[in-house]
């Protein structure tokens, strides 16, 4: 069992956890993820490790309530425990001193970009972060990201925080004012990563994205997470989760991510009904 040591609500549907998992905390590197199974009957859900404290033996997970299993996870209180946590999985981010690194995080994707940004900073990069969300309430970890960044740009669709617009607008503006950019790392909703990658391809900027496809075992066994990267089919869990953004077929990925949508809605409905009965 993996006890919840701290739980904070970051926005309506986003929760921030410290989970006791000492061995993972010691081993994990930026870019890696874990798979959690909250309780018997729950799905195996992949979650990027947002941070870790090797001394305290905890890993930090930022979780957005989407389906039944993530909702059950977010319903856990401090002191309760997750049944299964396995990891660290996936390949760590390849970090080097590129020079000027732009770290783009969208919504809950700001959590996984955070440890990568820190590692990039520690490697000597100048960091510009672009933090985007639909609206102010969905922005997370802004202060912590700002602390790591030489410049932090906040941008929301509705202008409720920072500038109004999309992360691609902010990136365009950076380039427009003559900034030399050596590396772009982008994590967020698939559609956002798609448009960032389209733009950076046009601008000829190397771009790393971290994918979040449907996954079961996370160790290369099921192939559910396969994704088209250039001319090759890759397994996100063992070959990724990070890939060259210019090679990923995002349209294909988005279709694959939606395949169980109907059943997930059905399952969620059942869960809500059960909760009402229990209350």
């Amino acid at each position: 069992m993996f006890p919840v040591r701290r739980k904070t609500q970051l926005s309506e549907d986003v929760f921030d956890f410290d989970i006791e998992a000492p061995r993972i905390a010691k081993k994990r590197q930026p870019g890696q993820f874990v798979i959690v199974r909250v309780a018997e009957g729950c799905e195996r859900t992949p979650l990027t490790i947002a941070d870790a404290d090797a001394e305290r033996g905890t890993i930090r997970l930022v979780v957005q309530r989407v389906g039944t299993s993530t909702r059950k996870l977010c319903d856990l209180s401090e002191g309760e425990a997750i049944r299964d946590v396995v990891g660290p999985l996936g390949k760590p981010t390849h970090i080097e001193n590129w020079g000027h690194c732009v770290c783009i995080g969208g919504g809950v994707g700001i959590a996984p970009i955070y440890p990568i940004t820190r590692a990039a900073k520690e490697a000597g990069n100048r960091i510009t972060s672009i933090l985007g969300a639909r609206t102010q309430d969905l922005l997370i970890l802004v202060d912590q990201m700002a602390e790591l960044s030489d410049e932090a740009i906040v941008i929301t669709d509705d202008g409720s925080s920072g500038k109004q617009g999309l992360v691609t607008d902010a990136l365009r503006e950076l380039v427009g004012r003559g900034e030399e950019i050596d590396m772009v790392i982008c994590i967020g909703p698939t559609v956002m990563m798609k448009f960032v990658a389209l733009l950076t391809k046009e601008l000829n900027l190397p771009t790393l994205v971290s994918l979040n496809p449907i996954m079961i075992d996370g160790t290369g066994m099921c192939g559910g997470c396969r994704v088209q990267v250039g001319s090759e089919t890759k397994f996100t869990c063992v070959d990724g989760p990070e890939f060259d953004g210019h090679l990923v077929d995002f349209d294909d990925l988005m279709k694959r991510q939606r395949v169980y949508f109907g059943q997930e809605q059905e399952s969620l409905k059942h869960y809500h009904e059960k909760c009402k009965l229990g209350a």
């Binding site: 799905e43 079961i216 290369g220 066994m221 099921c222 059943q263």
Partner: protein, 488 residues
């Protein structure tokens, strides 16, 4: 329940009345396609005694050599004749800690039973069914007991992977008196017994009980540990393990890289079966994991895994399930019994047929599969006649789910993190066939990660051989153990 049938033997002038090989009663196809309960019910005591009495107790029994774990078959069969089922169970467990599993999933027809003397003229003794009966009888009567533990040797062994090979090694090593820890990547032990083989062929309760038996021998199992990620082989040595067995299986699914293969609805047999078996997607009342509600399923391949996937598809409510295979019925690698069960349940065989590409709808879901008919040409390297496409025979098959069961590759995770471990060109671990020794002293390997996808019992056989060698290795280290060996 269907009637007890006998598999009649026709002989012109029998010298004395011969007892025919006894069938197991089983659920009728009409009934079982609506549930995930086990198909055969197993022998009754009467049937078991009758079947056991067919054994002529050969002076030089061939069946023992036919068994990868060398069960003393005539001895346990004789104990069944005598009605001493508990003793029969103990006899089997001298060399096989997982009899209820083996009695169900071993291909006895190509191992112990094929060499049975009776098979020359009539039908062999139903050794597998008797093994299953004995194990079930012992468990159902609550008589499973742990044998006396030997004196502890003080040596520590790590086993990577709680599948058939790893479980066997663990059981053997515990019986030698070593301290054994199994490290399992998934949240439940059992490997393919848990995630792969469906409930209706191998109830998970039985897998759990047999694993409990291993625990009673002193084996510990830690789940959620991916060796190569959370801990490396070298680190296991540093933690004080002196010998390590790798039994990680051949868990990476094989895709043909056809056009449209990444359409939704095209999935590996591993994914489909893992959703249904490990994650219990067949039971949406108790499990959150979804599975596609498919109506027209094509399963590609004709091995046991393909049959498992097809029969699971039937039970999940697909009206039409077809096995699509590029060779003919004779070459199908699945057990005859599995093919028979699948056909009884309405699974169609599209033989001499090969998929070329998949076509999808606007949402990216597979809706059709283009196939080509094949004919058999000259024999290839495997001795089987090579299938050759028939020009102009392309046709479209309507599908809303395609399950790819062509086989598996070596899983790369452990190899990548263990630089000294020699792999062959397909990524499988190089290990001595006789004792499982790898390129690293103290590290042994066996099962699918060495041989490529094979059977449960062959993995167990490899585990048994490796355990013997590991024991000798540990004893050669001398002392009271706990000498950290080098991972180099």
């Amino acid at each position: 329940m269907s009637e007890v049938q006998t598999e009649a033997t026709t002989e012109k002038r029998p010298k004395k009345p011969r007892i025919p090989r006894q069938s197991m009663p089983e659920q009728s196809p009409e009934e079982r396609i609506h549930n995930f309960n086990e198909v055969p019910f197993g022998y009754t005591e009467e049937l078991a005694k009758l079947e056991a009495s067919r054994c002529i107790q050969c002076k030089k029994p061939m069946c023992i050599d036919g068994c990868p774990v060398e069960i003393d078959i005539p001895a346990f069969v004789q104990l069944v004749v005598e009605g001493d089922y508990a003793a029969a169970a103990r006899k089997i467990k001298e060399t096989n800690a997982l009899p209820a599993i083996c009695g169900r999933v071993c291909p006895q027809e190509e191992q112990c039973e094929v060499v049975c003397v009776l098979a020359k003229k009539r039908e062999p003794v139903a050794i597998g069914r008797l093994e299953r009966f004995v194990a079930d009888w012992e468990r159902e009567h609550g008589l499973v007991e742990a044998p006396k533990r030997p004196a502890a040797t003080g040596h520590r062994v790590a086993v990577i992977g709680a599948g058939p090979a790893g479980l066997t090694v663990a059981g053997e090593m515990a019986k030698y008196g070593h301290e054994v820890a199994i490290l399992e990547a998934l949240h439940e032990p059992g490997g393919v017994l848990t995630y792969g083989i469906p409930e209706f062929r191998l109830p998970k309760e039985i897998v759990r009980k047999e694993i409990d038996y291993l625990k009673s021998l002193g084996v510990t199992i830690e789940c959620n540990v991916v060796v190569g990620k959370l801990v490396t082989v070298d680190e296991l040595f540093a933690e004080g393990y002196e010998a390590i067995f790798i039994g990680t299986g051949a868990g990476a699914p094989w895709f043909e890289h056809l056009e449209g293969e990444n359409l939704s609805g095209v999935l590996s047999a591993n994914e489909f079966l893992t959703r249904s078996n490990l994650m219990k997607a067949f039971d949406p009342e108790h499990a959150d994991t979804p599975i596609l509600p498919a109506k027209k399923v094509a399963v590609l391949g004709a091995g046991n895994t393909a049959m498992d996937a097809a029969r699971t598809g039937v039970r999940l409510g697909a009206g039409e399930v077809s096995i699509v295979y590029r060779r003919s019925r004779t070459e199908m690698p699945a057990r005859i019994e599995e093919i028979h069960h699948a056909e009884e349940e309405g699974v169609k065989l599209e033989l001499l047929t090969k998929p070329i590409r998949y076509l999808g709808d606007e949402r990216g879901r597979v809706k059709q599969m283009e196939c080509i008919r094949m004919e058999l040409g000259e024999p290839d390297d495997s001795g089987r006649r090579r299938p050759v496409p028939v020009d102009g025979s392309e046709f479209l098959m309507d599908v809303d789910c395609v399950i790819v069961a062509f086989g598996t590759n070596a899983n790369p995770v452990l190899g990548q993190s263990t630089p000294n471990l020699e792999l062959n060109r397909w990524g499988y671990i190089k290990a001595d066939e006789e004792n499982g020794q790898t390129s690293i002293p103290g590290v042994y390997a066996g099962g699918d990660i060495v041989t490529g996808a094979a059977t449960v019992i062959l993995a167990m056989g490899a585990g048994r051989k490796a355990a013997k060698a590991m024991h000798e290795y540990l004893m050669s280290l001398g002392g009271e153990g706990s000498q950290p060996a080098s991972g180099e």
